[in-house]
């Protein structure tokens, strides 16, 4: 219906409401700026390099899931299974790594890359199934991925032997997940990858750690996804699929194959988040990703993607994720009961949808 109304919109009528259109398009940027301003004024220590970096690092896992979700939502789908897919991949990573270490030469040198490959491969399988169900068998995405939500959850529990997190007690694993690219200490200057040995008398708390590992992975993934969505045929076809699936099909776009790739990409990125979780927290928890699912979908919606498909950007998703994690972090710093963050984020989601509708109204007039 909205589409039909939009078809009749005349370009001339649109120009009058440019300011409104701009507000509705850029409100999330504005909102993020206001949040940063607000917490900077009210929360001591909020606007510091270390705190901002820790916000960015905390959101790395959710961002990975949001990136995949952005592709799927732009293609007029939804992937409800990413949370437990992430947990499933985390369990696989922990179990396989535990099994391989000690059996292979070179310590972690062989076991870790191999276990990561296996976890990413296995973790992408739920996406393969989703993609076949949705692309070939025409199962509605909501249903197919809800089913996969249950299956991935069950498999995560089964492989972890009953739902307890699989502990990884291998020296060095946590150092990777909690490591940084660069360290700086006034007494010794910069050092790469490893925290420097400090001379006697140098205060350990003067050490500044720059670019945590999960954040680096998230940044690389973001850049790749940004490029993929905005600069390639794959991205263009994703928009086409969400905007008008029948037009995409008639234009010769292999719709079923594109759908398959999209859900596999979503599951793959969730698996990357699962592996990162193990490296950071040294355990494989089947429940690790569950709390991130709604955040990751919310981030995409706040970022301006339409749940009806065809609209959305990676930068929008990044802004949306930032908004959620700035709220979480900021509320803690100004000392508000953490449960209020759920209320605040819920309110932001509703705001986002209202803005989306305002935008649609502007276009329709």
């Amino acid at each position: 219906m909205a589409k039909m109304v939009q078809q009749l919109a005349l370009p001339a009528a649109r120009v009058k409401s440019r300011p409104l259109e701009i507000v509705s398009r850029f409100w999330s940027w504005l909102f993020l700026l206001l949040l940063l301003l607000f917490f900077s004024l009210t929360g001591p220590g909020f606007f510091s390099f270390l705190n901002l970096q820790s916000i960015a690092n905390d959101m790395a896992l959710a961002l990975l899931m949001s990136l995949g979700q952005t592709f799927v939502i732009i293609a007029a789908g939804i992937d409800l299974s990413t949370g437990f897919t992430m947990g499933f991949a985390a369990v696989i990573e922990a179990v396989v790594l535990n099994a391989l270490v000690g059996r292979l030469p070179l310590g972690l040198g062989l076991a870790l890359p191999l276990s990561i490959l296996i976890a990413l491969g296995v973790g992408t399988l739920p996406g393969l199934v989703n993609g076949i169900l949705i692309g070939r068998l025409r199962v509605p995405p909501f249903i197919a991925t809800l089913g996969m939500y249950g299956i991935a959850r069950g498999l995560g529990f089964i492989f972890s032997g009953g739902g307890q997190p699989v502990s990884v007690q291998i020296p060095g694993v946590g150092d990777i997940g909690n490591g940084y690219l660069l360290y700086y200490h006034p007494a010794v200057g910069f050092s790469w990858l490893h925290a420097p040995l400090l001379p006697p008398g140098a205060r350990p708390r003067d050490l500044i750690s720059i670019l945590p590992f999960p954040l680096i992975v998230a940044i690389v993934a973001f850049l790749l996804c940004y490029w993929l969505l905005s600069r390639t045929r794959f991205g263009r076809h994703t928009y086409a699929l969400g905007g008008a699936p029948e037009a995409a099909r008639r234009a010769g776009i292999p719709v079923a194959r594109q759908t398959l790739k999209l859900y596999m990409l979503s599951a793959f990125l969730a698996s990357v988040a699962g592996v990162l979780y193990v490296l950071r927290f040294t355990n494989g928890d089947a429940n690790a990703g569950d709390p991130l699912l709604l955040d990751s979908i919310a981030a995409v919606v706040i970022g301006g993607a339409s749940l009806f498909g065809g609209e959305g950007t990676m930068v929008g998703t990044l802004i949306g994720t930032l908004i959620i994690y700035v709220i979480q972090n900021g509320l803690v710093i100004i000392g508000i009961d953490p449960y209020w963050q759920f209320v605040a984020i819920g309110a932001v989601i509703i705001l986002a949808v209202l803005m989306d509708q305002a935008k649609a109204r502007v276009l329709n007039r």
Partner: protein
């Protein structure tokens, strides 16, 4: 059987100046085509011929089977019976893309455009040119697409102020023009248009009809579906009338009247 078996003989077409002896091979020949949807026979043993450089009107009431017929020709549906010959060769299209590769471009009634994408993206949809970045990354060549779009729109005298906005924000006529420009850009050898003037303002209808004439002038034959008599009289050379899935008549436009065609469409007049 209401169907009129006889096609216009070749000699008659040449005599009417609709084709020359040199290109006397039909572009498209449809023989006894059948398409069923469950128990419903949407296209019932229809035959028709399209000659080079002619505009064939396809008339019929709603539900007569016009859209279904052209969807079979353009590869959207597989026929349940009959034959398709394109440029003298028997063809069977598994997908719309295969038909397009042969040069059959279709402008569908339900516009086959992506409203959320801009005009260049739509014109190149599914056939986007790429260029290499750093030797190994294949990127969309947006500049080339924009240039080519400007070029083809200019050729057709189509004016769209801002080519980078989603075509949702264009008028109906502008969008229809984009669809036509796409077909022309990809060197259509046969153009099929399904109700291209429906839902357009009068000025935009005229523009679309003008584009049909442009196509004919370039030697591209057109099948123009309409239930609007004026359109057909304005641009068609020949008209085929369908009713309830069957072809009930075929007339040269110069030799028929609105009344006669309406009679065929509603079944009051026998072929």
């Amino acid at each position: 059987m209401l169907e009129e078996k006889a096609q216009l003989p070749k000699a008659e077409i040449e005599q009417a100046g609709l084709g020359s002896a040199a290109d006397a091979r039909p572009v498209l020949e449809v023989r006894d085509l059948v398409k069923r949807f469950g128990g419903l026979v949407a296209v019932d043993h229809v035959s028709l011929v399209v000659w080079p450089g002619e505009v064939v009107g396809l008339l019929g009431d709603n539900g007569a089977g016009k859209s279904t017929l052209i969807k079979v020709i353009s590869g959207v549906y597989r026929p349940d019976g009959g034959q398709l010959l394109f440029e003298g060769q028997e063809v069977s299209f598994a997908s719309p893309m295969e038909a397009r590769r042969r040069g059959i471009e279709t402008i569908y009634q339900d516009l086959a455009l992506c409203e959320n994408l801009d005009a260049p993206a739509n014109i190149f949809l599914g056939r986007e040119p790429v260029r290499r970045r750093w030797g190994f990354l294949k990127e969309l060549d947006d500049r080339y697409m924009l240039q080519e779009t400007q070029h083809v729109l200019e050729q057709l005298d189509i004016h769209i102020p801002d080519l980078r906005q989603p075509i949702r924000q264009l008028s109906g006529g502008q969008r229809q023009s984009v669809a036509i420009a796409r077909a022309i850009y990809w060197n259509a050898r046969l153009m099929i248009m399904d109700e291209p003037t429906a839902a357009l303002g009068v000025a935009e209808q005229q523009k679309v009809l003008e584009l049909v004439r442009t196509l004919r002038a370039r030697g591209v034959p057109v099948i123009l579906i309409s239930h609007n008599m004026q359109d057909v009289f304005a641009v068609a050379d020949r008209v085929v009338v369908m009713r309830r899935g069957q072809k009930v008549g075929e007339r040269r436009v110069a030799e028929t009247t609105t009344n006669e065609l309406v009679g065929l469409m509603v079944g009051a007049e026998r072929a």
